[in-house]
Symmetry: C2
Subunit: 118 residues, 2 copies
Amino acid sequence: MTEANAIADAYLAVWNEADAGCRLALAREVFAPGASYLDPLMAGEGPEGIAAMIGAARERLPGLVFSRGSAERHHDRLRFTWALGPAGAAPIARGTDFATLDGERLAHVTGFIDQAPA
Amino acid sequence: MTEANAIADAYLAVWNEADAGCRLALAREVFAPGASYLDPLMAGEGPEGIAAMIGAARERLPGLVFSRGSAERHHDRLRFTWALGPAGAAPIARGTDFATLDGERLAHVTGFIDQAPA
């Protein structure tokens, strides 16, 4: 059973990947074929759709990096917290994602915002 | 769109219902027919299975009451926090539940423990 931290880190690495081709390759490793993502502002379907969604989101987040907080898994369920901010500086936003797993890959991810950018 | 607080309150009312018949009736209002519940320790399927699971859990929680913390909804996704403790006294446990909705009823609920009983 893959550790919660490792899955969350691999997921956030997709968000932090600047190169579109690498981002898609990472997304195909992290997300199951039928994966979906939904938060209050964005939605994506499949590894390709989610990678494209993240690419569009990154254009609105220049210079910002996602970092993991706590992560926890039981059965095929995962939750983890994240922070978004300039590297080495205080976060400007925080959130909690909840996910179901398909094997060791992410199936359905729901994002919630704990602290929105000012 | 039913407010997140109202759904979470209706859900916790099932947990707090002492009478098995009333608990089942409440569960059939709150949960969709294909509903499921899963936390690190317990699982239930369908309103009837979940009501039975809660009944068994309540036998291990005499005199304790669930109260709601924050609740938030976007799309068909819900999260809320809860505390468990003697009425009017400090909680002995806390948790966060994530759920998907089927219409205005709970479909799949995943529980996570934020603070386990000492």
